[in-house]
Point group: C2
Chain length 912, copies 2
Amino acid sequence: MAKKYVYFFGGDKADGRADMKNELGGKGANLAEMVNLGIPVPAGFTISTEVCTYYYQNNKTFPPELEGQVNDALQRMEEVMKSRFGAPADPLLVSVRSGARVSMPGMMDTILNLGINDETVKGLIEQSGDARFAYDSYRRFVQMYGDVVLGLKPETPDEEDPFEVLLEAKKKARGVSLDVELRPEDLRELVDEFKAEIKRRKGLDFPEDPRDQLWGAIGAVFSSWDNLRAIAYRELNNIPDHWGTAVNIQAMVFGNMGDGCGTGVAFTRNPATGENIFYGEYLMNAQGEDVVAGIRTPQPINRLQKGDSPEISLEEEMPGIYRQLEDIRVKLDHHYRDMQDIEFTIQKGRLWMLQTRAGKRTGFAAFKIAVDMVKEGLIDKETALLRVDPDQLNQLLQPIFDHQEKKKALDGGRLLAKGLNAGPGAASGKVVFNAPDAEAAAARGEEVILVRIETSPEDIRGMHAARGILTARGGMTSHAALVARQMGKVCVAGCGNLDISYKDRSMKVNGVMIREGDRISLDGTTGEVINGALQTRPSEIIQVFHNDMKPEESIIYQDFQSLMQWADEVRRLGIRTNADQPDQAAVAIFFGARGIGLCRTEHMFFEGDRINYMREMILADNEEGRRRALDKLLPIQREDFVGIFRTLKSYPVTVRTLDPPLHEFLPHTEKELFEIARLTGKSPEDIRAKVESLHEVNPMLGHRGCRLGISYPEITEMQARAILEAACRVKKEGIDVHPEIMIPLVGHVAELKNQRAVVDRVAKEVFQAEGIEVTYLVGTMIELPRASLTADEIAQEADFFSFGTNDLTQTCFGLSRDDAGKFLQTYVDKKILEGDPFQKLDRTGTGQLLEIGVQKGRTTKPDLKVGICGEHGGDPSSIEFCHLVGLDYVSCSPYRVPIARLAAAHAALKNR
Amino acid sequence: MAKKYVYFFGGDKADGRADMKNELGGKGANLAEMVNLGIPVPAGFTISTEVCTYYYQNNKTFPPELEGQVNDALQRMEEVMKSRFGAPADPLLVSVRSGARVSMPGMMDTILNLGINDETVKGLIEQSGDARFAYDSYRRFVQMYGDVVLGLKPETPDEEDPFEVLLEAKKKARGVSLDVELRPEDLRELVDEFKAEIKRRKGLDFPEDPRDQLWGAIGAVFSSWDNLRAIAYRELNNIPDHWGTAVNIQAMVFGNMGDGCGTGVAFTRNPATGENIFYGEYLMNAQGEDVVAGIRTPQPINRLQKGDSPEISLEEEMPGIYRQLEDIRVKLDHHYRDMQDIEFTIQKGRLWMLQTRAGKRTGFAAFKIAVDMVKEGLIDKETALLRVDPDQLNQLLQPIFDHQEKKKALDGGRLLAKGLNAGPGAASGKVVFNAPDAEAAAARGEEVILVRIETSPEDIRGMHAARGILTARGGMTSHAALVARQMGKVCVAGCGNLDISYKDRSMKVNGVMIREGDRISLDGTTGEVINGALQTRPSEIIQVFHNDMKPEESIIYQDFQSLMQWADEVRRLGIRTNADQPDQAAVAIFFGARGIGLCRTEHMFFEGDRINYMREMILADNEEGRRRALDKLLPIQREDFVGIFRTLKSYPVTVRTLDPPLHEFLPHTEKELFEIARLTGKSPEDIRAKVESLHEVNPMLGHRGCRLGISYPEITEMQARAILEAACRVKKEGIDVHPEIMIPLVGHVAELKNQRAVVDRVAKEVFQAEGIEVTYLVGTMIELPRASLTADEIAQEADFFSFGTNDLTQTCFGLSRDDAGKFLQTYVDKKILEGDPFQKLDRTGTGQLLEIGVQKGRTTKPDLKVGICGEHGGDPSSIEFCHLVGLDYVSCSPYRVPIARLAAAHAALKNR
């Protein structure tokens, strides 16, 4: 039997199912599923992703069996839809759309109204009774086909679409301003002018045979899998290149066939807030792309959403259709047990569903829908956990505008405009008017707001770089809103009052002129656009932490706690935090950290007098001089640790001894240098000489970490004393303190042995003097390849390991974090690296060093406690790897603790 | 049965054997062996090294069984020597000496004449009939015991020995200048004064009971295993601390009992030149330490050695003894099949042998003796190979003085003096008068000659640091001569004409005043000391290479070729060289290299105009500008490769593409900067800005290696083109050329794939244009941990691997070679590292990366060619490791090729 490449759907039966996304893509699989659920869907068929693979492997040709299967499917379509493709009377028109395993909105190409030619257009006029509609459809088809299949689409945003130019010229010639004001003859003329333009530019006759049109469109959609913006999108979303896309050919239904026609998109729940409210938009007498593209701002779907606005909702306009849609909404929401993003078209009073798919949502919404669906009994807790991307939790913690300050700004008349609250959150920044400028400014470290009339897929990188996005056109399902929600960006969309001039790099808003570089603020939760910068204040959850809000007042907080508890029930990894101060530690504990995995002592040496004592120590001529300076630092460090131990109570605290090279503490400016000379009584020349003598060619690989403690044992001694004296004192206060002293940059067991001996000796002395003993551990960072490779030896001297994956990545790759920026993007662009290995742990290379380290360490000590305290400890993919290699805990920055908790739960669930 | 700790030797039977060095130490094992060979040896016994281990593990106490075993052995000694320990009449005196597995000359303590007290001294007078001798022995014993056992020995060279002070005072009081002029009463008084001094300084009564003396001495010798100079010596010679020393207690025989007495040391062959000539020195009426310590310059042992000098040889003085000694010499040389270093004492006309051991020798001698013994049928070729330390071969290649220049210097009256030719070779440098100064000067990069009246074990580090050593006193077996030979240092010893003032830091030599910092030259082959610096010229072997000498004229060259051929017969590893120029490559091929393992292209960019083109390339604003500059470099590079390919002929040539960061090529001074501005027409500000923009925090981990070729493919393209065009051209000349293109700093297979694609594309173009094809390989350096860990992936794109162990060590340890100098010595001092891992490959850590890399690489490609081109490729221990992990070849600098050949043979022989 020949291989099955084509899957039919229509009537009440489909070849495919929802779980066949790998073969049919998301759109095709869900169209099949809807048909099987008895939901009205225009008939059609899906060409499987296998054909895409074949296409790219065989020099852009199709498997020989394909043509026959397409013809068979087309025939079934004709039977179900009771009209014929290419027939002059009552012709069947089709859409040709891409559909990958996961949605890549707007990234690939689509052709609508396919099947029209000079013959069939007459049938269409007859069928619709509307020559204007028929010629408008023809005009749209030729334009789309010319753009997508024949390659007339402009390559940069600045170029104009040649068809748009002709359209504008026609409107001007007819003295009208709107498309709909053009007469059928005008549109017929435009069709001819479009075809002439294609002939002029490409030397091609427009294909009249609908089958030629169809095969051209199929090829163009497959080809669009490898266009630049699709590639960029896949990179950003880690979608493998080899997945390929399916192609869906579906009977056209028309929302623009006059009265009783319309089209819309909706979400089964609110995609921005997650509320269980039917949420959508529609346009009467329009095609679907009009809603998505943001060219006309659509109407609300129901009364609730409409609120006080003078618009007319679908619920009011077509109550019967609305009720039918509402039923479908509930059916789909419950069937898929997830919020759906649906598209529908009403053709002459009949409802057709064109798409359903899991809806993109903000972090807020993902989180709220997941928790709500558990409450509603639709999903279990574990499914809820997997529905929330850990990184999205960030949004719950992101600042909102300070209420007082915002009120003052509004009262002061600084409100510029109000748009749709498409991406919740608060953002302030300088205005830029195009995506490359946003990227460039972000690269310089500036915070920018990207302002566009409407966004398009070409803008993705710029949107990623911006703090917030503001558009003049488009609704809640416009490109800008969709992408912003997915990225977790603050976004105000469809803000009609903006009068943007790209040329002048400025916009007029209600009479106020805003130029490039001026600051504005966006409240993505309310849709307000405010002139000037605004202070932000903490999110609700953070307010609860600060006792500025009671837990019972905040539903967000309560839901957040529920989700975190569910995560705790399934995760195996412990969660600690990287914190150097009591206040940081308190935040982390509030978020669920159960210990400090990395307390860096060097940060403590920069404040106040400390830096001077530190410099005195470094500049000392001998051990005695160093000890004198260290004696001054001792009580200060001890107080620091007392504060931390009191905050952490019985949770363990891992303190790392001094790590950075000493030159980091020395003065860098002449002024500082003279100040230090004055303080130490040394000559500026001596100090300059010392600074120079400490200069290193490769400080990352230099005199730092335990190498300092070995050269100057008195430093380790002072630090051990400060830690252990502090521990003794808080123990006397009744706290069951658990200090863990961590020696950095160990590459050889003898280094750890040497430093451990210092700590153990000091411990004895301290316990003697304090008259009390404290249980303490001595362990090491594993942050050098040699440490991993000899972990069996090192474990003999270590009570615990903590992987320092920042340095481990640097040494494994031979890549300096400080210098890699200059070429890492080239590496990603040329597909040499998938991404920045300092953000997401490189499992193939660096990961082996973790595996080896854990395995060898536990060969020596089967119960060896092993954690991670590099920045990867807060990255979900890296956390999963830590789970897989058997780490005991991850440690991350305080605000990433919730993310780590959820990611640890994901890791446990996905790898059962 | 109780554990055997004590091994007796004496009469004609010994408990031990020569192969029991681990238990008895070298000295004890060989004393036992001599007894078993029927050679006259004073009776005695050896306390085994196990006792030393016990002693250190048990808080410096002895095993309980020891005392009984010592008493038993003492009794057997008394029986054989027919005298009693501690007996007032005819007392037995003993020596107590250390003896480790390998000789550590002068590093540990010795006590002689033990057993004398106020009672037994009378028996000694009776026995010898010489009160002066008896009291002199007593005086020496108390002094030695006081120094060594009771701790009065000065700790620094500047302090005076309190006993010497008293001795000098006595001589002054008696108005005499020599020790021998003191009368017996003077010496008896000195004994009392010495004891009083001990009482005064230490509050101790001198032990009168010989058994107390004995146990004190045994403890002191064991303790001396851990004195600072012994530790330093072990570090320098890689002797493990846990080996411990044995202690030898042996009946004293006296070379200083008047007429018919004497003592000497000799070598069975010449230890400096290796000639098969009995070579030694003796002193009449002296104890052995007088010869070794260099206090009196001894007499030659035979007529041959004496030559024209007015001295009297032992052959003339005591012909019978000499004949007996000559017989023993042949017996030992043949029995041990190796050159022996022997000590003997003649007591009243009777010859006693006190020691035999393998003699220390220069590299010259080691090599000559090994080759000669093969010719003599004493040893086989493989034994001969193992007799030569690969590093010693260096000496055969080291320069000698230019004959013409030296003749001119001598004719010009610049000969200062002539001493003993104790360490062959030529050295010039600034004079320093103490070891710390020598160390400090060497650390500053200065070449110095260390001048001492005599050297002592405290001077070892300074001797190591100096280029040459000159002493005023001591013979061919003095400390200076011995240690210099072992280190391969140029040394002139016993140069009596030097009048050295340590205080004034100057010396007078035949009326010429030489001050600290003045330059002198030493010819260690002739013993000449010459005023001022002298040019050197190549060694004989190098002269053969340059056709300045015919092979048949040089025995050294012929013997060298023999040894190298034997090495080639057993080694498995191939040998290549690291060479960037045809002349370097030619040297390496002469020495036996069979290919280039690393040709660095960057060195080619610094000469002449090239650096300007290079800078033009770097400063270009775009690819076009870079290509323009690269076009100028192309023909130059191509010519370089033509030269190299012509030299290497059919041997493979591995060329590494550009490796260092671009900023290394940019101007560093303002003057250069302005010059470049002039040449490129850019403004100095622009150039300065570019230099600054290329600055890196950690250049070692920065934008270098293949990262450059990936950012700027046009560089790799130009280099590939230069290599392959050159290859095509020499192939047209009839050479079977084998270029291998090596991509540096690969950490990810995609990097290699990217660069390989560039090379392969260029190759196609070049072969097309040249109309000829050349077989070429593309491979990679494995010099990052990630490369080793993912070698299975990388091997998919690599035709060969070459380990870059310099960078691999840096990244494995996280240690910058440029910065490690500041603390590496501390690490060695504190025993954290055994030595510099950049010199000797760290097998435990970095070694694993080699093993993993080879194993994973060959999993993908079983026949993958793997080599090493880091500096470890010329280090014998590292070469052995390369052999063990299955590398195909090592590549090293041209002058280390012979060393590598021999080391590869050693590796094969030792690991069969």
